[in-house]
Symmetry: D2
Subunit: 362 residues, 4 copies
Amino acid sequence: MSSEYGKALKISVFGQSHGKAIGVNIDGLPSGEQIDLEELYAFMARRAPGKSEFATKRSEADMPVFLSGIENNKTCGFPVCAIIENKDTRSTDYAGLSRTPRPSHADYTALLRYGESVDLRGGGHFSGRLTAPLCIAGGIAKQILARRGIFIGAHLSSVGTAKDEKFPLYPTKELFDEVAKKELPVINDELGKKMAEQIREAAAEADSVGATIECAITGFPAGIGSPMFDGIENRMAQAIFGISAVKGIEFGAGFESSEMRGSKNNDPFRIENEKIVTETNNCGGILGGISNGMPIVFRAAFKPTPSIGIEQKTVDVKTMENTTVTVKGRHDPCVAVRAVPVVEAVAATVILDMLLEESEVI
Amino acid sequence: MSSEYGKALKISVFGQSHGKAIGVNIDGLPSGEQIDLEELYAFMARRAPGKSEFATKRSEADMPVFLSGIENNKTCGFPVCAIIENKDTRSTDYAGLSRTPRPSHADYTALLRYGESVDLRGGGHFSGRLTAPLCIAGGIAKQILARRGIFIGAHLSSVGTAKDEKFPLYPTKELFDEVAKKELPVINDELGKKMAEQIREAAAEADSVGATIECAITGFPAGIGSPMFDGIENRMAQAIFGISAVKGIEFGAGFESSEMRGSKNNDPFRIENEKIVTETNNCGGILGGISNGMPIVFRAAFKPTPSIGIEQKTVDVKTMENTTVTVKGRHDPCVAVRAVPVVEAVAATVILDMLLEESEVI
Amino acid sequence: MSSEYGKALKISVFGQSHGKAIGVNIDGLPSGEQIDLEELYAFMARRAPGKSEFATKRSEADMPVFLSGIENNKTCGFPVCAIIENKDTRSTDYAGLSRTPRPSHADYTALLRYGESVDLRGGGHFSGRLTAPLCIAGGIAKQILARRGIFIGAHLSSVGTAKDEKFPLYPTKELFDEVAKKELPVINDELGKKMAEQIREAAAEADSVGATIECAITGFPAGIGSPMFDGIENRMAQAIFGISAVKGIEFGAGFESSEMRGSKNNDPFRIENEKIVTETNNCGGILGGISNGMPIVFRAAFKPTPSIGIEQKTVDVKTMENTTVTVKGRHDPCVAVRAVPVVEAVAATVILDMLLEESEVI
Amino acid sequence: MSSEYGKALKISVFGQSHGKAIGVNIDGLPSGEQIDLEELYAFMARRAPGKSEFATKRSEADMPVFLSGIENNKTCGFPVCAIIENKDTRSTDYAGLSRTPRPSHADYTALLRYGESVDLRGGGHFSGRLTAPLCIAGGIAKQILARRGIFIGAHLSSVGTAKDEKFPLYPTKELFDEVAKKELPVINDELGKKMAEQIREAAAEADSVGATIECAITGFPAGIGSPMFDGIENRMAQAIFGISAVKGIEFGAGFESSEMRGSKNNDPFRIENEKIVTETNNCGGILGGISNGMPIVFRAAFKPTPSIGIEQKTVDVKTMENTTVTVKGRHDPCVAVRAVPVVEAVAATVILDMLLEESEVI
């Protein structure tokens, strides 16, 4: 198994939800990059629990400790290892779950894969908590990219059947910043009210609800990427599915493209301000796996939080009999709300990895 | 760049559409596996052009020649290299396309990435023709898997706005075989008629239309896969985006999950015939990146063929002026029709790779 | 850059000598493996400084803290991250070394590669101290292997021009254990005296001396490995060169083979106790990259510790003028003495990686 | 298994000695590179058999056919696949060898690894013939490197106990060219006579003899490489062990360093012509895995050709009884003679890979 992704920039995530610490090792960052820790903490705070009515009340002090690779707030060229200690955990909530696996959690498959020794307290290594280290890596990557005019933003593009508007053709850094500050990170606050309503309704019924997140990357140079298996879509998809609860990804018009005619889906080229652009961006900034200079745009589908307070059918894996389980503990009614910065984080590492891989020596 | 995927089983694709040959190198196949060449040719024939009214009239004799790795119709443990010579090509159709790039093709991004020396005749290395070598690798993988009770099938699940029915909870090998034989590979022929209609209409207007393909894998053992970045979804997505025109992928209920409540999306466990199963399969057979024993199910979104006979806006990259382009040549009005076996092929290689990676030595 | 090796078992090392902590992330260990921490600490103590007259007086409390992957002294299937905090450091000893680089250290090349921000205190990420995390990974791997009858031992096979005897054709676990206990880990204590003499003489002159280490692996099953670029030699060599000061590696008779006739170098097969063995082991247990069931044997050449107390010629990289440098601080006169367990550790991880990669599922 | 190496530049070798064809797939070459085919053929001719008294009389027409990636003698950015058809083979010479394995060949280990289906005719995929495709890749890499002032040369540095002189501190391209033209590629022809004598003597007795090859790379920029497991030594070693019969590798003074004092082995820095150089090059141009601007120098140890005409002890793997085998067929008495260009070829691909990996985009 490999809790790692990336080529020129390798991101390795470790830790279990209720173990001693979780963390990330980042190998391949360029040397001499200034890291603004305040900005990093602010970024990480966007995914921290307990901050809004839409998030679990579990309070984490998810502040990272850097063990290596950063000296005097600068990368020194060596692997950056950062950890977050686990403190506020209520392991008793999870006792016995490997015997009566929770539906649509990894309890059952983890048991098959790792046997009795598997540590599933709090979801173990499968926990959404493991997205915090991803935010460390991504927060650093975002700063390195921003310095080169590359910006990354995301918003909650739908919750259940309620939809936010889409990113405009050219999303700005200001829009990204504005969305990031909101309790519910949406573009259109009117639409956001209906989205919030769906979360509240689900929560009121001890239920949960799914959502989608749209992410855009602007300023990424044209001509970066590769055909076939190593293009932007391949690598972004491989990494984004590493975020728990993601069950789908689409680039540009994505599944909508599958309903279109070519004459509508094709993005006409045009000269604008002496640059080659496209009039629409149904391809999401990617043709043949390679960037075309337009914003890179993708959407990820998040399933509803599998932990719900309603009694559910399950089995007892020891006696092989049908039984039920009611999941206790504190859970986000919509896991995607806090995943918005996580999607940005993962996107930032993938994009930085692809830039680092480009060779200019020869 | 890397036109390669896989870990224990590496698939490297090479060749340009109008070069001397295209082919695939397959490194890591188990030794001593019987390869039924007739069955392989029959599988490959499913994606060959010129076979149906829905496919381009370009006739390829896409029969592979095995250069290595197979002796006496058995794998001998060493890399299997197979090539297909390029014969029927009309390169003049493509002259000048790197100067006035076709919308939503890779012409423009390839020019940026590879410079003037790039070989874009017939789409070069970006051509859908490169899916033929994938079918060699996948056809072999399918035979190896079938011998172990693992079957893979796919169907055209939608064309434009017309939809086929979905695979049942437990698709059978018989269903896979039946669908594979059809000119339009759908489950429900009545629904298929409307899908065919959308293709014909697009073709009649020199246009093209998008589609989706649903793929299912049955008999895959439970407990295979990994959390985070190396699970079934990660690896399948990385590979499937290697098929040209794919712009989205979803597992199980996928984007539909994002509209659901957890109480509906969660798959209840149940004992059935002394086995643990789930009553629904919204997770697509995958929890935490690991198989749960249910069929693995995913859908890929294909954009409409970008080559259409209608005049389109483009630019002259030399003079930097707006102009138009009309794509000549023979093209599939719906690229997904012939991609059905390609999706099966890629899925088979990914699944075999994951099996080969599992260690039982210790 | 990548401070990582391995395929099924990935070992990532992080940390700088005088940073907050050094450590290792181990991804891919089988689940449910008991880890005897006392045994691990005892193994690590073999490389710890300050233990013998041949080692630097720097005292490290190199005891690892496990952050993840091990619960109740058992691996739980998830990545194992272990760290060692840095305590006893005298950074002032190293001030200015990036300006007047020490001969045969990485000071100069690190400056070129990473620029002014590089952290070279105590050697930074290049320090021999980074071999401590390798011993954590290797100590764990050794325990997992020993449970399957695979044993790994090493000895100081030469110091300067003084040589120990070689491992016998079939080295035993008892021999490994006996050597490991010695202050100077040699097979023949008489010969060891002359080796010790060379270390003492070098130390007395504020100089250092090179050495070789021979390593043997017994009980490794026959038929594991691969031809060409992924065989035992390829992977072992790639990893062993990761130990600082290694400048050469040879398998079996190695460079001696290059002086031999084929009739002498070839290892005749013979039936012994109903097993196929070879009468000699000039191939070091490896033919065509694959194990033949005989002990795997290799030797690594260690250059003399580059840090010596004698004044040396260097340059001032700022003024571009010739100057001199005298290295202060505490240093091993023969870096290889403490590297004996490190070689065992790296060998153990490579061997375990290769076992884990073998597939028995199909 | 993986008959592949490289990261930014992937080299995959396929084929069996007596199969339909052998070949190489090269993924990652920069686009627009002119390839002088005459020069490539001349380079390949240096390893071709039948050219000198020191080489087997087997005549191969080892001329490559390019299937992809090169158009109008220029790389077009896509994978370059080249094949060599197998023609002159005498398979009957090898019948039964998987039953009575030849000592120090891979017959026995291949049987264990791949089972009865393994194709061992002519050595199968283990054959020295597989070094021909490596020369295609390396010949191309050499041309790309030469254009950037990076030159690679090698010579037979010893045969049996007879030694050539070593490369001077700064070997020139002229020296490389001069050596390459010789029937026995040595620096000092007087010494070469004694080396030739050892080959003739071995041949006369139906025996074989080992040798070493020294390789130097000049003009490689300083500051390229990485610490720990991804440095020049790690990657060069991993690749060089892919050449059949290699049993050892050392960089700079290598094993000699292990006999030296630090005061002698350390390479003093000095300003020369306003550049930083070292007075000696015992480190072989590499410190901490990173190039220091001096020539990169390494030596590989080749065992004697295992195929000898003398009767040898072996076993019958079916009856499990002792027996003998006499190897028939045509064989080089000193496999290293023809391996000189192969070492250059592999070195060139590794060096080019490392250059391509360096990022200048950010």
